[in-house]
Amino acid sequence: MIEVHGVYKAFEGVRVLKDVSATFETGKTNLIIGQSGSGKTVLLKSIVGLHQVDEGEIFYDNRSFTGMHDKARKGIRKEMGMLFQGSALFDSKTVEENVRFPLDVFSDMSFSDRRDRANFCLQRVHLENVNNLFPSELSGGMQKRVAIARAISLNPKYLFCDEPNSGLDPRTSIVIDNLIYEITKEFNMTTIVNTHDMNSVMGIGEKVVFIAQGEKGWEGTKDDILKSDNERLNDFIYASKFLKKLRAEVNK
């Protein structure tokens, strides 16, 4: 479980996060949703420690991440896996080398064991016969799947996904969402997904935190969203005329 308590973050005097508190549960896909520029990426990067928070605390299974010194933080970092918006695969390494990289650096496994683990992770994301290809030779969806395989190679307790569907077609987005959901259940991870894709919200949003202008605007499940009378949340969800019309018809 990851808990965020009263987090504030500003860049050059501009407040981006204001008193954000939320709990992200283990074994569930926790979604952070909000408009572009609402502060959800800053929140996610603050949770993983890429940004230092100005105020507030972040706990990983009751361990204060913000109050830790670097050495202890490193220990928690080894329990994290992250999928970045642009995949962030290492261009100069092959697919297999990318997936094996965390194992090469942190594990004491033999080379053949590391290769077996990399192959297992690639098969888990339904990728085969791509081991010797470079990231530039893969499609966007395949790159995301390699990034997921790399993220799970060390068997992490926490998985973070920053806009995993950006740049993907709807069908591939569903494949990626389902993968994230299945992996979360299979490895009992605490997964946080940053998204503004409503298909993802309605598909895998077991817990949803809505961020609006740097503040937590709403919190609930995907089922609660449709019944919510939160104005800011509804403005975000029913932004398109089509959805507004659909909602009006449903409410009739």
């Binding site: 220990g75 970092r77 642009g86 962030a88 261009d91 090469d104 650096v105």
Partner: protein
């Protein structure tokens, strides 16, 4: 103020670069790769420039000392000392600041804007050390070799110019390059090349590492890396010359 900001951040960056590296096996493999990429990959340009500049130095010296009282072997002596003292260490390092510096800054800058450095940080890897230290070690190791190769090729270029144009007899030129040879000049040049290698890799790594934005900023970082490295090479050339030759 910006100068002070970058100077302070550069030294903090160096502290991170010299932090504990990843597994030694990976670190040494990275150094070998960087030596191949940055050093061996620069042999061509170092060779071409050295042979031509060596030839031009020889011809210019020959055409400017045509007094009968000055012996012709002086051309070889002057060309040798110019190549040993200044050309092979400073000018070759300035050229490498352009080639290697822009390569390092753009490579690391691209990794920054595509979140590859964030990925390393999230994994708990000291990204500055992982990316920059092997390049610094490789440049400090390989730059003296490049300079020595440049010395040899530069003098060979001078001799070729003598032979092909007949401006100085070959025997006189060869006598000149052996005449009043001071071995310390080679050591002086190699000491400079060590420092210049460090400056090129660390300054370029710094500008690449702190790139923010997109492709345009990667280009800007690359340009800044070359400009700042070149200025620092010139500054340290002055300081080292005063310290070592005074």
């Amino acid at each position: 103020m910006r100068f002070l900001f970058h100077t302070g951040r550069y030294f903090l960056f160096l502290k991170r670069v010299f932090g504990r590296p990843v597994k030694h096996r990976i670190f040494f493999r990275q150094i070998i790769d960087e030596i191949d990429d940055l050093g061996v990959g620069s042999l061509g340009i170092v060779g071409i420039i050295s042979v031509f500049i060596g030839a031009v130095i020889t011809l210019q010296t020959a055409y400017n000392i045509e007094l009968p009282i000055i012996p012709r072997y002086t051309v070889g002596l002057a060309a040798r000392d110019t190549i040993l003292l200044e050309f092979s260490s400073t000018i070759v390092s300035l050229i490498l600041a352009g080639k290697v510096g822009s390569h390092i800054a753009s490579e690391i800058g691209t990794m920054r804007v595509t979140e590859q450095i964030d990925a390393l940080d999230v994994m708990g890897i000291n990204s500055a050390g992982y990316l920059v230290l092997p390049k610094v070690v490789a440049m400090v190791f390989i730059n003296p070799f490049l300079v020595m190769i440049s010395m040899g090729i530069g003098i060979f270029g001078g001799w070729m110019a003598c032979v092909t144009t007949g401006v100085v007899p070959s025997a006189e030129f060869i006598y000149g390059i052996q005449y009043a040879f001071i071995p310390f000049y080679v050591l002086y040049s190699l000491i400079k090349s060590l420092v210049f290698g460090f400056l090129i890799a660390s300054i370029s790594g710094y500008w690449g590492y702190y790139t923010s934005g997109g492709a345009l900023e990667v280009g800007r970082s690359s340009t800044r890396a070359v400009v700042v490295s070149s200025i620092q090479i010139l500054l340290f050339n002055l300081i080292l010359t005063q310290l070592l030759l005074a």
